[in-house]
């Protein structure tokens, strides 16, 4: 070995090649030194680079490599041993570091690669999410559209508006070219184009319902894509558009009211559907998306519900209109009925009035006749006439009463009367007719029958008279027997239990005749108004058929019962009735014979304290009238002139009797002035009765015209005055003859 520490290069020095090597090494060194610097700079800038340690290693490696190359520059020429040493050291270090780095990289590079793959994966994911977001947003939009659509559809209950709105909104939401609705016709065999969105359609454009495409659509509740060439979709004029847009059809169930059961969703077995056809714009290459189809289905359901609601509403509106109509009709009927009732009442009242006037003439004249000189037979006849006419007057009242009876507003007029006398009177009335027909009548009063009873005398007499009269009327020969008894508890009618209470008893009257008899089948009809059995024998007897009906009503009012028994035609019949009567306490007193005491107290205490004013110029007749009224219990004030009368009369006086005998009208004037006086006051004016020497028609008319409530013939008997006062106070009017 040479002692010179110089190291000789291996090869001979070639000047040019060496020069190039020299330069390259230099540049490599520079690059190797600048790379770590760049790295450091950029790493420092970015924050996320995870492998700093690797960088450091790499940096060291590069630096050493650079150092190596740098030192290499000196080895091109002869160099000292130190340089060689440094070079060697550098190379060794470089070797170490580079090996370390190489080893390190083995670990690192997969990581780096995986980072890359993850990055790629994430990017894909992000793209996918973006897509999904887009989708969701679209769906959201669609949902909003549906809600809005539903709202629009359901906001109206008008069928037409519902359907039109549906089409409009659908068209808008889905940007359709055309939207059409086909409704089934009344026959159900065809579908008729009812609504379209844009194109005007010809009227009555129908397609038969049995097309396969339609069946296909009706068979499922989903929206079905159909061919644009099918009849239901061929609405637009073919105008050279090649690419017809896709068409979708969906069924719309038409629900009826009856489909809605309580816990049941309506069955779609109605099988009535409408068809909704939706067409996308042509030439747009748009496709039906799933969410759009779903939207269409939802809308179709909503439309079905809305339509059914509209149907329900229509139904209830119709029902309400019907009810209103019926209401109006009922109201009218009620008013007509009321008018009819009023007319009938008016008619009855007028007829009564018309009938009463001649009636009263008869009564008046008979009364007057009674006053004249008559033989006993004549007197009896006149009395009978009078009694009959009174009865007739009562009957006329009762015809009016019958209508009141039916309203239930009639009341019995109770009073004490002699039962025995009543029967005898009835018989006296009937006797003339019976004698003419040669029918002997017998009266049989039970020994325990009370004499004085409390009840409605007039009406009881009417009942007995009616029954006995019928017996006489319908008998051609034989005899009539009338029996009156107090009935015990066993009666014929099973549903009527008679319980005689302490102060009441039940009177039973049996009238048996031997006349034509009655068919048992006809018995129920007897008591109906105006119905008459049509046997030839009875046809000639006349009568209005009201008698038994009225009698029955009176008997019922008297808490009794009436029925007829007959053994058949030609075997006569028995009419029986029970009525409830009160027993009068007077029956004990009146049994005493001898001189009846003139009662110290007036018998009708209803007149006690009745304030009456008597106006009469004639002192004597004034005194007599006063005595009469005082005897009846009234409180009487007397005046002798018109002026005094006007001064004295007050609302406390219930009746004013004024003598109008003086010729002239001055006396009547007082009536008018009294009227005047009391119209100004709020009190009720007293009843005004004229006492006159005559009660002919002109006098009565005069009295009526001057506002008098009645006229009495002077002189007035005690009984008559009593009756008059009762009548007056009850009816507030009195126009009788006497």
């Amino acid at each position: 070995m040479e002692v010179c520490n110089c190291i000789e290069p291996q090869w001979p020095a070639d000047e040019l090649l060496m020069k190039y090597q020299y330069i390259s090494d230099f540049f490599i060194a520079i690059a190797y030194f600048s790379i770590p610097l760049e790295l450091i700079y950029f790493v420092k800038k970015s924050a996320v680079f995870p492998y700093r340690w690797v960088l450091v290693q790499f940096g060291a490696f590069i630096v050493l490599c650079g150092a190596t190359h740098l030192i290499n520059l000196w080895t091109f020429t002869t160099h000292s041993r130190t340089v060689a040493l440094v070079m060697t050291t550098a190379k060794v270090l470089t070797a170490v570091v580079s090996c370390a780095t190489a080893l390190m990289l083995v670990h690192i590079i997969p990581d780096l690669l995986s980072v890359k793959t993850r990055e790629l994966f994430l990017k894909n994911k992000a793209a996918e999410l973006d897509r999904e977001m887009g989708l969701i947003r679209t769906q959201e939009e669609t949902g909003r559209h549906v809600r809005m659509l539903t709202h629009e559809i359901r906001s109206t209950l008008d069928r037409h508006t519902i359907l039109k709105t549906t089409l409009v909104e659908l068209g808008r939401t889905l940007a359709l070219e055309e939207c059409a609705l086909w409704m089934p016709t009344r026959t159900g065999l065809e579908l008729q184009l009812s609504y379209t969105l844009r194109h005007q359609h010809p009227v009555e454009y129908t397609v038969p319902i049995q097309l396969p495409v339609i069946n296909q659509v009706f068979g499922t509740s989903r929206a079905v894509k159909i061919s644009p060439n099918s009849p239901v979709a061929r609405l637009r004029p073919v105008s050279g558009k090649y690419m017809l847009g896709e068409v979708v059809a969906v069924r719309v169930p038409l629900l009826h009211l009856s489909n809605f059961q309580i816990n049941d969703w309506p069955e779609l077995s109605t099988k009535r559907y409408a068809l909704m056809v939706l067409m996308l714009p042509s030439d747009s290459a748009r496709q039906w998306h799933v969410h759009e189809l779903e939207l269409v289905e939802v809308v179709a359901d909503q439309v079905a519900v809305a339509l059914s609601h509209a149907a329900i509403l229509e139904e209830s509106m119709r029902a309400r209109d019907l009810l209103m109509e019926q209401n109006v009709a009922l109201d009218l009927a009620r008013r007509e009925a009321e008018t009819a009732i009023r007319a009938r009442n008016d008619f009855l009242a007028v007829m009564n009035h018309e009938m009463r006037t001649p009636m009263h003439a008869i009564i008046a004249l008979s009364s007057l006749l009674q006053e004249t000189e008559l033989t006993p037979e004549q007197r009896l006849m006149v009395e009978t006439i009078l009694k009959s006419s009174n009865l007739l007057a009562t009957l006329m009242n009762d015809v009016l009463d019958l209508s009141r009876l039916e309203d239930g507003s009639l009341q019995l007029e109770l009073g004490t009367f002699n039962l025995h006398t009543l029967f005898r009177e009835v018989l006296n009335l009937i006797k003339p007719i019976a004698v003419v027909k040669k029918l002997p009548i017998t009266l049989n009063l039970a020994p325990d029958l009370p004499e004085f009873v409390v009840g409605d005398e007039k009406r009881l007499m009417q009942i007995i008279l009616n029954i006995v009269g019928n017996a006489v009327k319908f008998s051609k020969q034989g005899s009539i027997s009338v029996a009156a008894l107090v009935t015990k508890s066993d009666t014929r009618a099973a549903d009527f239990f008679v319980v005689p209470t302490g102060s009441h008893f039940y009177l039973r009257v049996k009238v048996k005749d031997s006349g034509a008899g009655i068919n048992p089948q006809d018995i129920p009809k007897l008591f109906t108004k105006f119905a008459q059995t049509q046997s030839l024998a009875t046809r000639s007897s006349g009568g209005s058929g009201l008698g038994l009906a009225i009698s029955k009503r009176f008997v019922n009012l008297m808490e009794g019962n009436i029925w007829i028994e007959s053994d058949g035609l030609g075997k006569g019949c028995t009419a029986i009735f029970d009525v409830k009567l009160g027993i009068s306490e007077r029956s004990n007193e009146s049994k005493q014979s001898g001189i009846p005491k003139v009662p110290a107290i007036p018998r009708h205490s209803s007149f006690t304290g009745l304030k009456v004013l008597v106006m009469d110029e004639n002192g004597v007749s004034r005194m007599v009238t006063k005595g009469l009224l005082v005897h009846l219990g009234c409180e009487v004030t007397t005046v002798s002139s018109n002026e005094e009368c006007l001064r004295v009369v007050s609302h406390e006086h219930k009746v004013v009797f004024m003598d109008v005998c003086m010729p002239g009208v001055e006396n009547y004037q007082i009536a008018l002035r009294i009227h005047e006086k009391f119209t100004k006051q709020r009190h009720q004016r007293p009843l005004l009765v004229a006492l006159s020497g005559n009660t002919d028609k002109s006098t009565k008319e005069k009295c009526m015209s001057f506002g008098l409530d009645g006229v009495l013939l002077k002189p007035v008997s005690l009984d008559h005055m009593r009756d008059v006062l009762s009548d007056l106070l009850e009816r507030r009017v009195l126009y009788e003859g006497m």
Binding site: G619, V620, M662, L718
Partner: protein, 157 residues
């Protein structure tokens, strides 16, 4: 005593019936009697007294009116008085007097002087006669009461 009472009562009854039968009284008188009770025991007497006073007054009015010496005869006044008398007599049941008044009125309306004068005389006679009769009847009643009996109610019919 009872025999006396019975006899008086019988007398009273017969007398009353005769009055009715002779036409002095009519039903109104019966009515009048009905009004007499414990509250007004002398009702009939009072009324009749008033009636007779009225008669006197009216008759003198009529006489004065029919007096030719004072001038022309005022038939209307006479008629008014007759009317009054008719009313009074019908109120008490003086049958004959009333009947006379009716014809009296006709004469007045016919302005028949002689007729009126004649009627006036008759009325005068009649009422005096009635007064006497009724007086007798009342006396009988008094006798019955004094004898301790009760005045019977006479039923005309």
């Amino acid at each position: 005593m009872d025999a006396l009472i019975a006899q008086l009562q019988r007398q009273f009854r017969d007398y009353t019936i005769s009055l009715y039968q002779q036409g002095f009284l009519d039903d109104q008188f019966t009515e009048l009697k009905k009004l007499q009770d414990d509250g007004s025991p002398d009702f009939v007497a009072e009324v009749l007294t008033l009636f007779f006073e009225d008669c006197v007054k009216l008759i003198s009015n009529m006489a004065r009116a029919l007096d030719k010496t004072t001038g022309t005869v005022d038939f209307s006044q006479v008629g008014a008085s007759v009317h009054q008398l008719k009313g009074s007599s019908s109120s008490v049941g003086a049958k004959r007097v009333k009947a006379l008044c009716v014809s009296f009125k006709e004469y007045c309306e016919a302005k028949n002087y002689e007729g009126c004068v004649r009627c006036l005389q008759q009325v005068d006679i009649e009422y005096k006669a009635l007064k006497t009769k009724l007086q007798d009847m009342f006396n009988l009643e008094k006798q019955i009461i004094q004898a301790g009996g009760r005045v019977p109610q006479v039923d005309i019919n």
